[in-house]
Structures are given as structure tokens and as C-alpha cells.
Amino acid sequence: MWRFIGFRVLQSIPVLLVVITVTFFLVRIAPGGPFSSEKAVIPEVKAALEAKYRLNLPMFEQYTAYLGDLAQGDLGPSFKYPGRTVNELIAAGFPVTAELGFYALLVAISIGGIAGVIAALRPNTAQDYIPMSVAMIGICVPSLLMGPILILVFGIYLEWLPVSGWGDMPGDKILPAITLGSTYAAYIARLSRAGMLEVMSQDYIRTARAKGLPEWRVVTGHALRGGMIPVVAFLGPAFAGLLSGSFVVETIFQIPGLGRFYVQAAFNRDYTMILGATVFLATLIVVFNLLSDILAAWMNPRLRSQYGDR
């Protein structure tokens, strides 16, 4: 197990380095420097600004200096908001995004997992078809459509829930969480159904039944652990999807999270913010992929040895 973890951790390092390097140089070769849109600045002021942001150095030195700062956790100043650092902006936005992502994941795992298990218990009956048809809808209705539809129905027509904001009014976190979680609930429903179907036909389940366990104990005590492995392995990619999905959901519901900051930074050409946020998000995604892989391996020793061989 430790060898497997060590192997996967080592594999993540080049990924992170690629992300940082590619992002850094992409942002640096971007046409239209960060100050080009501003009206003409006095040369001394411009020089001072460039020195402050290290734009006067050769590109490679900028890169090594950035890596040095990064190693100390310093993402540099924001180009657009004078006096604020990228670290501050991320610190302001990320807790909101994390909370949204957590609720969305909760929605996805609970609804998707239960629907998938229920469907797998009686395959090819109405109990299977109905949840799986709903899951198909969840996959085909993207969040950029789900959000406006939910707002229209529950916010405007029924007036049950607030349609924007985060933590300002009771219940304003419900619609964003459902919007962001629905697609993943659908995928998890399909994955857990497939996983459970595979497990339920195995010998050890027959043994559990043969020794007289009630069906619910067979399912919860024996089948779930094996049946949920595909779901756990999916959590890493799902996490990455939730983070980028938050770009859309935070825009729709006007939530002051990292996703909205990122999109705004993209429009403002706030290069240091884009660079810093990309590095930050990429690191998070890589770490979560790692955790999800380790968890899946812990649940399934066969997978572990398979990874070790590669």
C-alpha cells in the first residue's frame, strides 16, 4: 500500500510542474500586456510597475523567480486590484467555492448512490428504468440550462427559494448545490448501478445469502463496499468537474466564489490572478485525483497491484 501511495505521489509531481510551466509561459506570451489597455503612463511609473511585477527581467528569470515564490506559497500581487495579492483573492473566494462544491458532492453522492443501488436491486424492472431515465436527463441537461430552469420554476414561478446570493437569505444555497450536483448525481447513479450489478452476482454475495443474512444486510454489509469502488474512483474526476462547473454555477447565481473571480479575471486579463488561480486549482485537482485513487485502491487490492505493475 505504501509503495502504491509513494508511486502515485511521485507521478503527481511532473504533472504539477507541467501545469505551472505551461500556465506561466502561456500567460507571459499573451498578446496585450497587462498595462497596455491603460492610458499612457509616465515612463518612470511604467518602469516602477514593471520592476514591481518583475516584467523587466528576462523571461526565464521571471519563471525561476515565480517558482521560488510559489515554493513559499506566494502567488504574487494582482494586476488589476492594486494593493491586493492573489493569495488574498483566493482566500476570499475559495471557502465559498469549497462549500458549494461540498454541498454539490453531497447531493451527487446521496441521490446518485441511492438511485443506483435501488436500480441495481431489481434490474430491468420499473424500479431500474425510472431512476436510470432520470439519470439520463441529468446527464443531458447541463448545469448552464439546469440553473436557469430551476431559478425559473422554484424562484420565480413558485417563489419557494431565493434565486441568487450566498448566505444572504435562508435557503439560497439549495438551488446552486442542486444545479452543480445534478450531473454528477446522474453519473454516480449509473456507476453505482453498474458496480452493484457486478458485485451482486459474485460468489461471496451468494455465500452471504446462504448463511441466512437478511437482504438489507447483504447489501449494506457486503455488496456496498465492492459496488462503490467505481464511484470512489470517479470522485477525483468529479471533483475536477465540480470546480470548473462552479464557474458556470457561480456566474448564474451570482455567488462570490473562486469560479466567478476566475471568469472575471479572464475578462479583465488579470494575468497574475489567472496564473495563481490556475496553479491553485490544478494543484487541488491533482491532490484530489491522488486521494480518490488511493481510496479506491484501499477498497480494492486488485486495483492496487495492477497500478503497481504498470
Binding site: 446527464i139 443531458c140 448552464l144 436557469p148
Partner: protein, 295 residues
């Protein structure tokens, strides 16, 4: 038929070919046939749009403004008095084009990459597939947003960027196919005939791996179209004066309280297409008996 001739036998063999068999199985899957029909319809409409669109693309009637669906404007008009059906038809051209072209880019890279890795094997294979592993772990959505910011919102770049992201799974599928195929006699025969590796890969290996390729292609198109809608919704994809379903949805969402049809119909067009592609993809997977590419 009493006297069996050689042509009859040939016909009989044709009658039970793998593809015909798959087609028969697919035809029995009503949802997949429905998906195929809707898709064909949408593609034909998209191709014919410049001739059959009820109004001109840029034609505005500011005097009438946003009107609900009526006899003159089947799906209503937007705030500038533009016919929504016309907008959706032109938007569909872009959305479908992104879906097909970006998927074609992904196919080309993925098939070549996977086939070369699988065929050459050894150290080359190890390096190529390790690279795929590393790329898999990259947060691509964020990278595409970054690309669109850095290089401006250019359609060609959008095709390339999305295509460059989606080729990874295709490469893996192709590699495993080639690895199992290259042990077979017909490949040995091709090698002993002195054919070049390029010929062997594209004339002999790729056609034999067509089943998984088709299935995966059908399932890649919807994810590509979603990506385009996602970017356009954020304002980072297709730019006015051009339009796409994603862009129409984002406009519709802004004014949905007063003019819900502006959100509803572009949304329906996108959903219907995604449904069709997913049903068709699932149906083809069953018909061609391909094990799920995503598991």
C-alpha cells in the same frame, strides 16, 4: 432456392456480416433509432439553413421587439425582433460544427497516437502512454479557459483546443485494440508482404478497430458540444455576430423572467441533440458489442 450458386453463397455471407448484424440489432433499439433520426434531421437542417431559414440571420425588426411564438415567428422573436427559429438554426450550424470538427481532430490525434504506441510497443509505447497519463491528470477545462483568454476568442482555436483535449481516451482505446490485433495472422501476413507500418496501421489495423472507434466517437461529440456551450455561456467561446446554442442559452437566461421562450427553445435544441447522441452511442455500444470505454 434449390440450386446454390457461388454468388448466392457470397450474398448469404454478406447477409450475416458483422456490420449488417449490428445494424439489425441497432434497429431493434427504438431509442437509438430515434436518436439517429433526430440527429440526421438536425444535420440536414444545419446544412440547408442558408436556404430554408424563414428570415435572414441579421434581419432585425426593432419595432416588434420580443414576441412570443406566433404564426409569423414560430418560436417567437428576441428583444431586437430577430426570429428565434432562424437564430437557433444558425446557432445549430456552429454548435454541430464544433461537435463534429473538434471530435474529428480528437479522432485523428487519438487514433494515430494510440495506433503507433500499440504497434511499435516497447520503450516508445511506455513513453507515449506515460505522457497520456500525465495529460489525463491535467485540469483541462481550466486550460481551455486559459487558452481562450490568452489567444483571443477564435473559432479555429476553439476547435483545436477542444479536440486536443478529447483525444486521450481515444488513444488508450486504439492502443489496446492494436495490441490485441497485431498478434493476428493477417497482420503477420501484411508484415511479411513488406508493407510499411503506416500502411499496416491505416489499411489493416484501423478498419478492424472501427467498432470501438465509432462508439467512442458518438459519445465524444456530446461532451465536446457541452464544452462549447459551457465556454460560450461564460462568454469565452463563440463570439457575436456569430451565435451558437450555448450563446443563445446565455442570452435567454438573462431575460428568462420576461421572455422564457428565449431560454426554452435553444435549451430544447441542445438537450434533444445531447439525448440523441447519448441514446445512439449507447445503442451502438450494445449493437457492436463494445465494452464500455469509460469503465
Amino acid at each position: 432456392m434449390n440450386t446454390t450458386t457461388i454468388t448466392d453463397i457470397a450474398q448469404a455471407e454478406q447477409g450475416t456480416s458483422l456490420w449488417r448484424d449490428a445494424w439489425l440489432r441497432l434497429r431493434r433499439n427504438r431509442l437509438a433509432v430515434f436518436g439517429l433520426a433526430v440527429l440526421l434531421l438536425f444535420v440536414i437542417i444545419a446544412i440547408l439553413t442558408p436556404w430554408i431559414a424563414p428570415y435572414g440571420y441579421a434581419q432585425q425588426q426593432l419595432a416588434i421587439g420580443a414576441t412570443p411564438p406566433s404564426a409569423a415567428h414560430w418560436l417567437g422573436t428576441d428583444i431586437y425582433g430577430r426570429d428565434l427559429l432562424t437564430q437557433i438554426m444558425y446557432g445549430g450550424r456552429i454548435s454541430l460544427a464544433v461537435g463534429f470538427i473538434a471530435t474529428a481532430v480528437a479522432l485523428l490525434i487519438g487514433i494515430t497516437w494510440g495506433a503507433v504506441a500499440g504497434y511499435v510497443g516497447g520503450k516508445v509505447d511506455a513513453v507515449m502512454m506515460r505522457l497520456v497519463d500525465i495529460l489525463y491528470a491535467l485540469p483541462f477545462m481550466i486550460f481551455i479557459v486559459l487558452l481562450m483568454v490568452v489567444f483571443g476568442r477564435n473559432m479555429l482555436l476553439l476547435f483545436l483546443a477542444i479536440g486536443a483535449v478529447e483525444w486521450l481516451t481515444m488513444a488508450r482505446i486504439m492502443r489496446s485494440q492494436v495490441q490485441s490485433l497485431r498478434q493476428q495472422e493477417f497482420v503477420e501476413a501484411a508484415i511479411s508482404l513488406g508493407l510499411s507500418p503506416t500502411t499496416i496501421i491505416f489499411r489493416h489495423l484501423v478498419p478492424n478497430a472501427l467498432g470501438p472507434i465509432i462508439v467512442y466517437t458518438t459519445l465524444t461529440i456530446p461532451s465536446v458540444m457541452l464544452l462549447e456551450a459551457f465556454l460560450s455561456f461564460l462568454g469565452l467561446g463563440v463570439q457575436p455576430p456569430q451565435t451558437s446554442w450555448g450563446l443563445l442559452i446565455s442570452y435567454g437566461a438573462e431575460t428568462m423572467e420576461e421572455y422564457p421562450w428565449l431560454l426554452l427553445y435553444p435549451g430544447l435544441a441542445l438537450i434533444l441533440t445531447l439525448f440523441s447522441l447519448n441514446f445512439l452511442g449507447d445503442g451502438l455500444r450494445d449493437a457492436l458489442d463494445v465494452r464500455s470505454a469509460k469503465d
